[in-house]
Symmetry: D2
Subunit: 427 residues, 4 copies
């Protein structure tokens, strides 16, 4: 329902203002010795995957307030993702959650996805909830469990997720565990770690040789006293003990108060184990808000570390980028459009940092000018540049406006009737 024509129609309305803004930005960047076209190209190459669970309205333990026209199955979710892809030129991959979105026939799903221009990113396993028909419960953990049969079941579930992913064309598995304890004494802290390490080794062993394993840490929730994979230090220890293709996934909301997340990113680059990102934002805990909505400067500083490491070769390639948000009060598709725009702009800002100047000021301890060099890039209004990148990919100058004009939501709301859809909670 989003066609090139819809997009064109929307773009025409914004074209004049965009041309003026872009022309001025072009002048500004050239004045600074930068090449605007090269930046547009790099922004156009930015790819971020959408998670299958972010297309429905999310919620908290206190309730959920569904929206209209939510997708009822994985096919409708792919349909929605393809809308984001068309309007932004990014988000051409979807990250699947097993079992929430497990397809009956993976091969069939893969074909349907291909028809929509959507491919499959990392698959996500789930051993933090019990599923119908499951033999053992994860009430007291999965990989950390004292009972070997529970650990075996949890490992088997991960192997199954790999199988599904392999059939869909995925090349990576993301493991986030809720394992931990609510009370001092509940678990033996060292043994719980050792059991998690051993299960990861079992999964890694069985993984195809061209797959990567992403280990995602989180400080708390659902465990409220101690969590096994709670911080980047634990994640790194585990990745190194697991194997070369095991690395750390950084979720932007999975940090205790005041952690310097960009430095965590820098450390993992140095350690050679930065695997990927879950983009979102947070003020208090794992709030799963829109990326950059609370701490936009931090998001820029993270991208700045990435741009810098890609420039000097410390990062051989971009880590895996994925959105992981809970859209409780926004239309999920609109929220994703807003998010991709924001990520494209943050990436653009990181790309226009004058690295030679920065290096010079750092070398000579000119603190103020080093800071101002970052701020010059951060405070540049790069909206027109992100729009240029999207236009180059056939997308919209203003994706949310184009989406609203398309009346896509209204149309699917009529089509998507029947049994009320209850989307799973956000990770």
């Amino acid at each position: 329902m989003i066609t090139p024509d819809t997009i064109d129609a929307s773009n025409r309305a914004f074209d004049e203002a965009w041309r003026s803004d872009y022309a001025h930005l072009d002048e500004q960047l050239r004045r600074r010795g930068l090449d605007p076209d090269a930046v547009v190209e790099q922004v156009a190459a930015f790819e971020v995957a959408a998670p299958s669970w972010a297309l429905g309205t999310g919620g908290t333990r206190f309730g959920r307030f569904p929206g209209r026209g939510e997708p009822r199955d994985i096919f409708e979710k792919m349909q929605d993702v393809s809308v984001v892809r068309r309007l932004t030129g990014s988000a051409s991959r979807i990250s699947l959650h097993i079992p929430w979105d497990e397809p009956d026939d993976p091969r069939d799903l893969r074909e349907q996805a291909a028809a929509l221009g959507v491919a499959f990113d990392a698959v996500n396993s789930n051993t933090f909830q019990d599923q119908a028909g499951q033999t053992s419960s994860y009430k007291f953990g999965s990989f950390q469990h004292t009972d070997p049969s529970v650990r075996k079941q949890a490992v088997a579930h991960n192997l199954h997720a790999i199988d599904v992913g392999a059939a869909l064309g995925s090349k990576a598995l993301t493991i986030w565990l809720g394992d931990g304890a609510n009370y001092p004494g509940q678990t033996h802290l060292r043994k719980a770690y050792e059991r998690v390490r051993d299960c990861l080794a079992d999964v890694y062993e069985a993984m195809p040789s061209d797959w990567n394993l992403f280990i995602e840490h989180k400080p708390f929730e659902p465990a409220f006293y101690a969590t096994v994979v709670s911080d980047w230090g634990s994640s790194l220890m585990l990745a190194r003990e697991t194997g070369e293709r095991a690395s750390c996934l950084v979720d932007l909301g999975h940090h205790l108060p005041n952690v310097n997340v960009e430095q965590v990113v820098a450390r993992l680059i140095t350690a050679g184990r930065l695997g990927g990102f879950h983009f979102n934002d947070a003020k208090y805990g794992d709030d799963d808000l829109t990326a950059g909505s609370i701490k936009p400067y931090q998001l820029f500083l993270i991208f700045n570390e990435l741009a810098d490491a890609l420039a000097d070769g410390a990062l051989p390639a971009s880590p895996s980028y994925m959105i992981d948000q809970s859209h409780n009060v926004k239309d999920p598709i609109e929220a994703l459009l807003q998010t991709v725009d924001r990520l494209q702009k943050s990436w653009a800002r990181a790309l226009i940092v004058r690295r030679d100047a920065l290096a010079h000021y750092q070398e000579t301890n000119d603190v103020l000018m080093a800071e101002e060099t970052l701020r010059e890039a951060y405070e540049t209004d790069v909206g027109a540049l992100a729009a240029a990148a999207r236009k180059r990919l056939g997308g919209a100058i203003d994706p949310v406006a184009a989406f609203r004009a398309s009346r896509y939501r209204e149309q699917v709301s009529e089509a998507r009737t029947g049994a009320a859809y209850v989307p799973p909670q956000s990770l």
Copy 2:
């Protein structure tokens, strides 16, 4: 199923050790110039209410792992509360959640409760979730909502909760609102406050003249950017603008990191607006763990403020005490038994602080000895004293042991079959 005989049988097993411990404690306290019998009496007088929603297994947004034999309705919940009452001598009141545990016939419920020795504490309203059949949604708030019809519906719900409570013999309403915003700009911060203030006034106006209104603050969740009643300062402003019988309720898990909660309690005492407590404990956010399980010293220091203020008359009477926990990995009845024991012990420790000595050291700035005076009380093993208080009330020396010996859970597990019970989330 818990009879005086069951309790006697259990107590016999612990009697010898208890006698020895109590005799030594008696000697210790007399050595310090304290009267052990008077303390036992004050501990026996300690009353804390159980919330109707804490009898089932709780959960997080990531899932819930039900236990066996959970109560299926409010009657079975009262039955479970009466077990706690018998074994601890406390918890003879239940705090009802409307609509989760709304009775069809309040008068009938009141009679059944009386037969079990259980009465009704403050009622809790709920405008943070939508209920079936509701006209307007609380997706964007209730008392803060920009649409007057939503605010009207939310006020009406509170008046209904008062009606139900009045029929049950309650004398107070507790209001906790999820109202707030997930994103900067979403709400007008000042106007949202003013609308909440006005709705509270409407509820207060309609409340019977012998009722109290408790305003409960919480810094975040479900709103993740700004919450209207986020801190004790906002709660106090609202209570003062609402009326004399409006006061502040302190939930021990509703504070940002590093807040000095005992000083918050002291401030509300000074302001004359300390209404009550929701007991639980937390390490990270609103974790709803067992009271005193993470920060036992803080719990003591809070009780110390209360004991001190009751002693010097700053508090005319005890505030309202209620447990508000989420029992995710413990048997709910066992968790309540453990909690009451812990609260009785914390209260006992606060009662044995040598206040004259403390005042002397404070007056003369003998920091070390002032601190040690608190520690002397805190480090005293008052287990035997709490047991003595329970024995005086016909309860158990070791409530959890007595409960396990009674095989109550096994018995109700057989009886409570039928449709799987899904308890509501914890507050």
Copy 3:
């Protein structure tokens, strides 16, 4: 040494780029229905005071690394402030610390200041340190002290600060107390509060009737367990008990982790007690970094509350604005120039929020568009606008560049020899 000629010379170098940037910004703002000239005027009217203690290099308890050419006395500090005033058009007032910068002859100082175009803002008292010749020590507090003679001495010091301020033309007193406790038990929490309240009343009583009293709260440091005036709630209680001209001063670094500071500002506006600000920024504690250097979006959101409240009349006039930073690794004058530029830009961004659109989206719960309306303003590159405001006042397009070109620091470094100057610590 900073003359109109120096400034002109510097501006000429940036003129072309500035003209281009301003022309485009002018177009952008008009496109949004805004009046750029009116905004420039409002930015030009923005006044922020410099504190007398921020002209020397600051430090931490671990050491201080002095810079060259630091001012040796209050006259040289005024000289440095006048540099900031000339280059930015703001900072024409200085906030004096008593006794660190107490003049021998206030009337003489006032004249000298006038000659430099500098006036005196709020005076700051200090009862958190002992001074030579003092009778009693503040080791265990000042206003909270159990010994009435210590409290009397502390009140007398405040009255003296008022006298000095009155002679200089100040109209306000800022009181920040370090009073509190390092250990549980050290102080009686309620009585400590009451003694502080009573001392504030004594100071207020003696204050001239056209003076204002600003009460500044801070959660911790130097007291590490409990601080009497720890949060806005305590500050508000005290202001209300003290009198009508007592109000709350918000220091941007004086908040526990994750506090929503813009909502604190909104609450104090509602309460009618927002007195003023100490601008700085912080990541961890009271870090005293350059305003907006860590959380630039928060700074914008705070200014947004102010702009909104000034627009709808909730704030009758601007609160008192003051910088309070510790310049440990930057040249103090350069840091102040950077700070004023950043404040001017933040204020400009708040002024270009399209308030009607925002109100509409808030009213209709269009969360995404409400958020984007704030972001539109925040992401606008307003550098040229702030420069235009400075130019209108005779200041520099790029104040730091103009300052460096002037070689002011090098010149005063030669003049300011003699006994090494040890500036006091930052507040």
Copy 4:
């Protein structure tokens, strides 16, 4: 001045109560199947070192309030430490700070120390302050500095500290660096890490083969944006890259809010890199309060991890224990006596955890009983046991009371006149 007679006299006053308490504790522990004598022996073997900088009154950046009779040089400090040793039976080692307490003649100092029964623990280097006569400044860091000559100077200082320590009989060097940045952009995060890593390698290389290197992390202060060795993950990466005898030192106050410190300890044990501890306590930042004064349960849980790991062989030997506190409002000697008593009691509580029962409950996921097994030990009043251990070593039942009775402070206050002593800040 503290003689066996002084101690005996004090002990006589407490003997009767102690005998009664100990007899009852003995009965309690035997009831639980524990051997009280063995625990007394293990507590008597507990050794913690005192830092040379904790004998004078500490302060904050806002000031310092000296006490009477503070030691004026390292010899008087050793004298004071020997008082702690005599009264507690622990603290027979002192940890020296270079250059604050650098001796003119190390061999002479060693002999004098031996005469007082005091030996030398790890030496501490200092590259976070500039010293008189130093060639280069550490304003912009030491090991991280971009200028190789500054790094060389910092490494040379560490080698010098090793030389001094070797002459005194020390066998370890503790390195804590203030290196970091106050502003985004100030340093290149990855390169700063690499330079620190390389300097550590240089120091390690030059260290005697029987020495250990302790790397101490801290999240912030004096750097307020990014600190190179900020967390246990960075510390572990560095220790592993440095060499086998490099390990991590955990200061209890060097953690961001809500970090689970006992799990950090467990991780470092698993990694085989737990080198030592700096004991203190904190509510907000690096508050340097008396150990166990704010979070006594956390202190117990840390000792519980150590006792557990020593029991199962994961820790081959006790890590290095040191006190690192700032005594701002307490008499420094009294504060150390209180601290040692508290550490002895915490260690005793960890030793009486019934490990078999705990393991059983953990294995069977009996969460409540596992927790209660820890609480049983934590809530045991082990004061008499710690006193028994001290008595066995010739120490006091109540060290502070014995100290006060000895009038040691009054006596040295008379002797220690002359030039006012300004002790350095606490780490």
